[in-house]
């Protein structure tokens, strides 16, 4: 039985990105007592994406921030309670799960993990030293400081190329450093990139080894051309790093929830994890396709599974 003095809910959703907000639209609309915790931005990574071209229903595309606002408003219309705070741990106490949060302990009959992922760091000299003073991970947040400047973008995936194109609004010249000999970015983006050839130069087979500065300002990036083994230098005012994502699952260590080899949450087809009453949806889930449309789809699926779970779990 739940302790009477501890705040208790039927469902706690961890995160308020597209997966979480969609699940909340479904559960709150059906009067399931639901709260959400968001430690960063409501809307998740979708909110910090400049422009979303492939989310269905928006023929001309939509600004990520506007899509996030729409999802938030829709969830709040049905009574979703979004708390600005963090969930630090989850433990399985049988019928109830205990969550340690910035609002204190909370008990929940069901928990939905929709915590997505965070940017990976390069782990090279200079990266920490010039953090937010020349080394950045969010183009929509910090790009505006580089009007008519020179930039280096590190990475060759969808995010890197999308962000390099966004940064051409501000910067005059952008060197994109790609470790391998090909790009992981989609054909569509690679084609788009060709339209910005006057500003963006892509350097393949180039590692990023050190970020160097003087008087508190970044001056250049040192890398290696792996085809020749020679050191290469790129003069720049700033560096934007987009080398992939790592799942936000460190807080699950004590939970008993099974993670895969890279730390993503393992679920079955109904999005149930290895712990009964704990579910996962969106980018954090092992096998996720890392798209907003799939995150919202999984949010809806998880909500259905959770409603059934709550109906079938007898009252204590």
């Amino acid at each position: 039985m739940a302790e009477s003095q501890v705040e208790t809910h039927d469902l706690v959703i961890i995160g308020a990105g597209p997966a979480a907000l969609t699940a909340a639209i479904y559960t709150t609309r059906e009067d399931v007592d639901t709260i959400l915790f968001e430690k960063g931005v409501i809307g998740g990574l979708a909110a910090i994406t400049d422009w979303v071209d492939n989310y269905p229903g928006f023929p001309e595309g939509i600004a990520g921030l506007d899509l996030a606002e729409g999802l938030r408003k829709q969830a709040e219309r049905f009574g979703a309670d979004i708390r600005l705070g963090e969930v630090m741990s989850v433990t399985d106490e049988g019928e109830y799960k205990r969550l340690v949060t910035t609002d204190g302990d909370i008990l929940a009959k069901a928990v939905l993990i929709a915590t997505g992922s965070d940017y990976k760091k390069l782990g090279i000299p200079g990266e920490q030293e010039y953090y937010a003073r020349g080394v950045h991970y969010c183009a929509t947040c910090d790009g505006a400081f580089y009007r008519e400047k020179r930039l280096v973008v590190v990475g060759g995936g969808n995010s890197a190329i999308q962000e390099a194109i966004f940064l051409t609004r501000f910067a005059d010249k952008i060197d994109v450093l790609v470790r391998g000999d090909t790009m992981r970015a989609s054909e569509v983006l690679q084609h788009e990139l060709t339209k910005f050839a006057d500003k963006i130069t892509v350097h393949f087979n180039t590692t990023t080894d050190e970020i160097v500065g003087q008087d508190g300002k970044v001056t250049h990036v040192l890398g290696t051309d792996t085809t020749t083994g020679k050191q290469v230098q790129f003069d720049t005012d700033g560096v934007f790093v987009f080398i992939g994502l790592k799942p936000n699952t460190a807080f699950l260590q004590e939970s008993g929830v099974t993670l895969d080899e890279i730390g993503m949450v393992v679920t079955d087809g109904l999005l149930q994890t290895s712990v009964p009453g704990v579910f996962a949806a969106g980018d954090v889930r092992s096998g996720a396709t890392m798209q907003i449309a799939s995150a919202t789809g999984e949010g809806a699926t998880a909500a259905m599974t959770i409603r059934k779970y709550l109906e079938e779990t007898p009252e204590a």
Partner: protein
């Protein structure tokens, strides 16, 4: 306790929206300087914070002392406006 608050923002910065939302939820008013609309104030934002990142929240207290918080960081914002 707090005399006034100025937030430096940009059009696309989602963390700026969160700082404004959080202050709004506490009934705290603030002045916003949008750096996309006022690029001439970019240098001032950098000098205040030493960083090239938004949001930059400048809090002036009753005794005219100032605190600068870069980013959306409730662990710093909450005590600064208390």
């Amino acid at each position: 306790m707090v005399k006034n608050i100025t937030i430096f923002t940009t059009n696309t910065c989602a963390y700026c929206v969160m700082v404004k939302r959080w202050l709004g939820s506490k009934g705290i008013s603030y002045e916003e300087v949008n750096l996309d609309q006022n690029p001439e104030r970019q240098q001032e934002a950098f000098e205040i914070s030493g960083q090239l990142s938004t949001p930059i929240t400048l809090i002036t207290k009753a005794d005219d002392s100032q605190e600068v918080i870069v980013g959306y960081n409730l662990a710093k914002l909450a005590p600064a406006v208390a």
